[in-house]
Each structure stands twice: as C-alpha cells, then as structure tokens.
C-alpha cells in the first residue's frame, strides 16, 4: 500500500486541470488498494514553476505538468510539450505510443530522476486575440504580443512582432488597456473562461505557434520503483486511457467555445495558405537553429521528423480519409547531424 501526494501546474480556475483530475480518478480506481493518490490543485502545495523541483527532490511523489515549462532546464522539453507548425494531436498520440516517443519522454525526464507518463493531449491552440485584424504577415509587423515559449518567441521575432512576457493574471487587463496588442493563451475553452472575448475583437486562426500540446505526470523515480509491477502497469493503462479521453473532451469543449466566441461577436479570421506556407518555412528555420543548440533537443526533433516521414507513406496514400497533414517540416539531415554531436 503506497500513498502519493500529487499536484499540478494548473489552478482550479483553468479547465486544463480536468485532465489531471480525470487521470487521478482513473488511477485511483484501477490501482485499488495498492496505491492511493491524494491530489492537490495547482498552487495549494507549490507554485506552478516549482512542481518540477518538488517531484525531482521527492518532496512530493507526482506532479501534473505541461513539459514546456521546464525548457529552461533543458530545451528538449519544448518539443515534448508542443511544436510550432509541426505535430497535431494525433501525431503526438501516434509518436508517443508506437513510434518511440514514450521512451524519449522518459529519457529526458530520466535525466532529472523522474519517470513520465504522457496522459493528455489537446489539438491546436486558439491563436492570437487582438484588437487589430490580422490576416497577413504584414499585419504582425510591430505588434506587441503576449506569447510564451522559446521557439515561439524566436519565430514571432522573425515574423516582425515582439514577444512580451507577462504573468497570466495581467493579460486580461493589459489587453483591455492596450498595453499589449494581442495575446495567445490556450485552447478556445480555456481562453473563453479567461474572458478574452470581453477585451478583444479579433481572433486569428490557426494557432501556428502551438500546433498541439501534451500534458502528463512526472513521477519521482524512487516512488515509481517502490510500486509493484502490476501497479505500474495500471498507471500506464490509466495514462493511455486518459490520453484519448482528453483529446475528445478538449476538442468538444473547444468546439463549444468556438461557437461562444462567435456568439460574443468576435470576428474570426484565418491566415491564407500562402501566409501559413511562409510561417512554415520560418518555423523550420527556428526549429533547426534551436535544435542545433542542444543535442537532446535535436534528438527529440529528429525522432519526430522520422515519425512524420515514415507515417507519410500511409497517411498520404489514405488521403482524403487520413488523419491530418504531412507538414513540410525542418531538414531532417540537419537535425541528424546536430543530434550526433
């Protein structure tokens, strides 16, 4: 009988916490008397940015997260969390479960004495919410936009915008007062609960900066090793089940929220295909540069690109009934060279 304390990076006010809660519920049911996980909302035990350290040091046994928050410790966490114009949610699921992604998560988290179970995936993030219409790349010139992430910031700067860092709690007011020209936050349902429809008029889709996102649980290695093999298997089952549940759940919620934004009178624009093509080229460049600064990061991107290349054979053959597009991503040979360093 083991008992774990677990928290997450999300406060109760953000719907993303539902993914964590659903996993804890499943895990507690499946593991029966062998393991009980006591779950605390984000902030109750440690602030969001400290969940990693608390699990790493074994102060708590488990912590729900979005890997991108730890990119300051190793930039390879960034592609484990999201990509700029590369993977969609199904790509992440395929890659994690069948193309060796799960092992890569554990290799990177393993460097910090942790085991990782990816258990949540959301598809495309909303994109920028602004008070000035964005349709082409020219509209992005000189715009001060709140955006988080390393590759994302570099990409925006190449596109002529400025990345403004800002605490989550200040975004609403800064949009309202024009301190920033626009902001991206999360998926449509999470954005709606943040009240962005009250302070912006336009919404530019798609969210090229974050084509899909992964969430999961970090588990202290010693705590994981203390479990019986059957219990570990049950946790894996719970994580796998949660991964697919989260995809359907969040896509449903995003669809509902899309309608809510429309009903609130928000004008929703789309970048044209030529613009998205240009962004893709720039994103590829940023990915190559960033990956080549860190062999771990290059290794992750390489594995992702190998998956895309491999899957493309069948994905493209099954068009138009296929699952998403095969992006024309970064140069795989360049990534291979950087990963070998």
């Amino acid at each position: 009988q083991e008992s774990w304390t677990m928290t997450t990076t999300w406060p109760t006010s953000l719907e993303l916490i539902e993914i964590d809660k659903h996993f804890v519920e499943l895990a507690n049911k499946l593991t029966g008397d062998d393991l009980s996980i006591e779950f605390f909302e984000g902030g109750a035990l440690v602030p969001a940015g400290e969940v990693f350290g608390a699990v790493e040091s074994g102060t708590i046994q488990a912590g729900g997260d979005w890997p991108g928050y730890w990119a300051g410790r190793n930039s390879a966490f960034s592609p484990l969390a999201t990509t700029a114009s590369l993977f969609n949610a199904v790509d992440y699921v395929n890659w994690i479960q069948q193309w060796g992604g799960a092992e890569i998560y554990n290799e990177i988290y393993g460097k910090f004495g942790m085991v990782y179970l990816p258990y949540g995936v959301t598809n495309n993030e909303s994109g920028f919410r602004t008070n000035k219409k964005i349709e082409t790349l020219d509209d992005l010139q000189g715009m001060r936009l709140r955006l988080s992430g390393l590759e994302q910031g570099r990409l925006l700067e190449e596109l002529g915008g400025s990345q403004v860092s800002m605490a989550g709690g200040e975004i609403y007011q800064s949009l309202e007062r024009g301190v920033i020209d626009g902001a991206e936050f999360s998926t449509p349902n999470v954005d709606f609960s943040g009240g962005f429809q009250q302070v912006t008029k336009f919404w530019a889709t798609p969210g090229w900066h974050q084509s899909a996102s992964v969430f999961g649980v970090m588990i202290n290695k010693d705590s994981w090793d203390a479990l019986k093999p059957e219990t570990r298997e049950m946790l894996q089952v719970a994580a796998d089940a949660n991964l697919i549940w989260s995809l359907a759940f969040t896509e449903k919620r995003a669809t509902e929220a899309y309608q809510q934004f429309k009903d609130a009178g928000i004008e929703i624009t789309r970048y044209d295909d030529a613009t998205l093509e240009k962004i893709q080229v720039m994103a590829n460049g940023v990915i190559e540069t960033t990956a080549c600064e860190n062999p771990d990061s290059a290794m992750v991107y390489l594995s992702m690109m190998e998956y895309l290349g491999d899957y493309a054979k069948w994905r493209d053959a099954s068009a138009p009934f296929n699952l998403g597009r095969t992006p024309n991503g970064p140069d795989i040979e360049k990534l291979r060279a950087c990963a070998a360093q």
């Binding site: 350290g53 790493e56 040091s57 991108g68 928050y69 730890w70 990119a71 300051g72 410790r73 190793n74 960034s78 910090f112 000189g142 001060r144 988080s148 992430g149 390393l150 994302q152 910031g153 570099r154 925006l156 700067e157 400025s162 990345q163 403004v164 860092s165 800002m166 301190v179």
Partner: protein
C-alpha cells in the same frame, strides 16, 4: 566582537542592496517608454526586473533584523521585567527563528546548487540564467541566520538596541 562583525556585514549589505530598488524602477520605466513610445519593448526587462526585485528584498532580511524592523506583538512581553523579557525573547529565537533559518539556509543551498548544476534558465526567447538568484537566496538565508545569532548574543549579554519602528 562576533556581534560587531555580523552587524557590520549586514549593515554594509543593507546599505548597498537598498539602492537596487532604484535600478529596477528605472528598468521598468525604460521598458514602458520603449514599448509605448518606440513600439519596441525590451526582451529582457520583465525577467531582469523580477529577478532584481527578488534579490533586493531577500538580501535585506538580515539588515531588517539588525534594525529590529520585523513586526512583533510586544504587548505581553512589555509587562514583564527586563530580565524575564530578555529570556522570553531568547526562547523565541531558539524555538522559532533558528529552526526556520537553519532549514532556509540548508535547503536553499541545495536548491541553488541544483539549479546551477542544471544551468537553469528562463524559457522565453531570451534565456536568462536563474541560478544566480537561487544562490543569492541561499546567501541571504545565511546572512539572516548569522544576524539572528548576533541578536541572541545581544539579548544574552544585555546589549540590545531599543526596538525600532519602521
């Protein structure tokens, strides 16, 4: 001798670090001007000002203790005789201050060293190192701990300064 050395150390730290407030105030204003007037916000102001603020106040903990600026309820102890009050205050340090300060020093040291070994940075388009601030927290905790030793020695030797209101 020890008392004097510790007091002087925290006094010097306090006098130097207090000036940092002006530095981060100026940075914030610079960033506001760059953003609002020139439409070119700096890439570093958010993280640098935040780190400077953290450094500023945490380093001043020992200095504030040296000047007895930390608020306390002295309505009860005020009614005690001088000797009794001094011993009650020493007991307060032994029960509350030292356990906390000890944990603060040792754990922040581990915390800072781990960040240093990992070369931790912020994760935006500017990657600013985070470990200097975490190590500064450990240094600040140490300054606080030794100031506590000085204050207790003053109480035991009956050489305390009158309580200060800030």
């Amino acid at each position: 001798m020890i008392i004097k050395a510790i007091d002087t150390l925290n006094e010097v730290v306090g006098r130097v670090v207090s000036v940092v407030a002006i530095v981060f105030a100026a940075m914030i204003i610079f960033d506001v001007i760059m953003r609002y007037v020139f439409n070119a916000p700096t890439r570093w102001a958010f993280d640098v000002t935040k780190q400077l603020y953290g450094f500023y106040f945490v380093m001043l903990g020992g200095y504030a203790l040296r000047h007895q600026s930390h608020v306390r309820v002295d309505l009860v102890t005020e009614t005690l005789g001088n000797t009794a009050r001094r011993w009650v205050e020493v007991a307060g340090y032994l029960i509350f201050f030292f356990p906390f300060a000890w944990v603060f020093v040792t754990r922040s040291w581990d915390f800072g060293m781990k960040s240093w070994q990992q070369g931790e940075t912020t994760y935006g388009s500017v990657q600013l190192p985070v470990y200097p601030l975490k190590l500064a927290m450990a240094a600040a905790a140490f300054l606080l701990l030794i100031q506590g030793i000085s204050e207790v020695l003053k109480l035991i030797l009956g050489r305390e300064v009158p309580h200060h209101d800030s």
